[in-house]
Amino acid sequence: MRIVLIGFGNLGRGLSRALVQKAGFLRRDHGLIPRVVAAVDEFGAVVDEKGLNLAGLLKTAEGKGTVALHRGAKRGRLALQVIEGIEADVVYELTPTNIETGEPGLTHIKRAMQAGRHVITSNKGPLVVAFRELDSLAKRCGVEFRYSASVGGAIPAVGLAKKLLAGNKIREIRGVLNGTTNYILTRMSTEGAPFEIVLREAQELGIAEKDPTLDIEGIDTACKITILANSLLGTNAGLKDVKVAGIARVRPEAIRLAQEAGQTIKLVGTAKRGSLEVGPKLVPLGHPLAVGGTLNAVTFELDLAREISITGFGAGPRETSSSLLGDLIDIHRTLGG
């Protein structure tokens, strides 16, 4: 399979490492021989139709910060040129999220589909802005479209619901989908420390970003709940359809009061037909959503199975490569490989 990587940051590199490490396993167990024919970032691109030497490319990217400084690289904004000009089976779209325009990912994905490439993305932006459009464009172009990594990092929420739970009607989806806020709430509950202090600690540990607004205000969770609703409940929702409250007002005293009643406070996204919501919620201690630290969790309420929950790491390049690689193998199988 010929693969193009658009975006070679944390996830592009994490995926490349997994491809290097698992080459033997993929060939033996899945009959899959992935060949990365191009890698592109904001500053340039490297192309080799026989397949790039990923180990060498990783060294350059880690040392110099961009693929544009690799031997034989071309400089410039080359994503669209590569997507349309380089023969490939799958395009990975792994550029930064923009929840207002979806760009640059949105255009990358559309052009890739129109060029007949299957698309795998971790980028929430295009999915939040134009889910239906992309979903039907993929069908019209006869290509596969996967986005497991966009929600819950390593957690196979979309695949689990779409494939293994396919016999159920999904009544409701609830998720703890943001590692940063979950870390903050967890530390407030174990240390009794105030929000501002715990936030600073999270920033120092690299868990929270310098500008944590999207996380703290619940907007990142709202993006993920929108994607889950659109992809699993068949809605056509955008961010504006989600009622959002963040965690900035949650105080350690409030968590203590919750604990005295056998509960804790989690930032929970809820999706059901006709209502999308994000906000702090009381969750019984011991409930599958009462996960600690940066963990994520998703619970499906179903007509047959009643309740199914999964828990796992919601971010991290290695963890998330599990979803990115899983999507590749899934496409390979779908195509009869």
């Binding site: 105080r251 203590r256 009061l257 509960q263 009381l282």
Partner: protein, 161 residues
């Protein structure tokens, strides 16, 4: 029930309820409506796990000479917990509770406060008990309206409302 108007009578009536695991929710002492025999009508509302325990309470009351004049039962009270964060005292918690208690079949059965540092927001945990699911949901949406008017953040349980 009717109690003798002497000290200690009420305590005598309450003891069996807690002994058998009941949870007393309100006591109305109607002193001004004394019976011709000089007894004081008292209305008690309590919650108890099952019928067998209720029978044990009633037997114990009878054994102590407490006269139960009327017995009303409601099955399956529904309880929810909600947290409020904000300027809870300044926005008159008493009024918030009164508004909920004014709803039919709804009462605020527990309240805990955690005061913030001066100038900071406080937190309250409220348990609302209602006769059935429908009433509890209406209480929750009422509280939601009160909370947004008083600029309080309300936190409910997953799956509630």
């Amino acid at each position: 029930m009717e109690l003798e108007d002497v000290p200690g009578e009420l305590l005598k009536a309450l003891e069996p309820i807690s002994r058998f695991g009941g949870n007393i929710q309100s006591i109305m002492h109607q002193r001004e409506r004394k019976t011709p025999l000089g007894r004081v009508p008292v209305m008690l509302i309590f919650e108890i796990g099952d019928r067998a325990r209720l029978n044990r309470v009633l037997a114990a009351l009878r054994a102590r000479g407490v006269r139960v004049t009327q017995l009303g039962e409601r099955e399956g009270a529904v309880r929810v917990t909600a947290l409020l964060i904000g300027h809870i005292i300044h926005t008159d918690i008493r009024d918030t509770i009164d508004r909920l208690n004014a709803l039919r079949g709804v009462r605020v059965s527990d309240l805990s406060l955690a005061m913030g540092e001066p100038g900071q927001e406080s937190a309250a945990r409220m348990t609302i008990t209602a006769d059935d699911e429908r009433r509890v949901n209406s209480a929750i949406s009422n509280l939601q309206r009160i909370a947004s008017r008083k600029k309080l953040l309300m936190i409910t349980s997953i799956g509630a409302g």
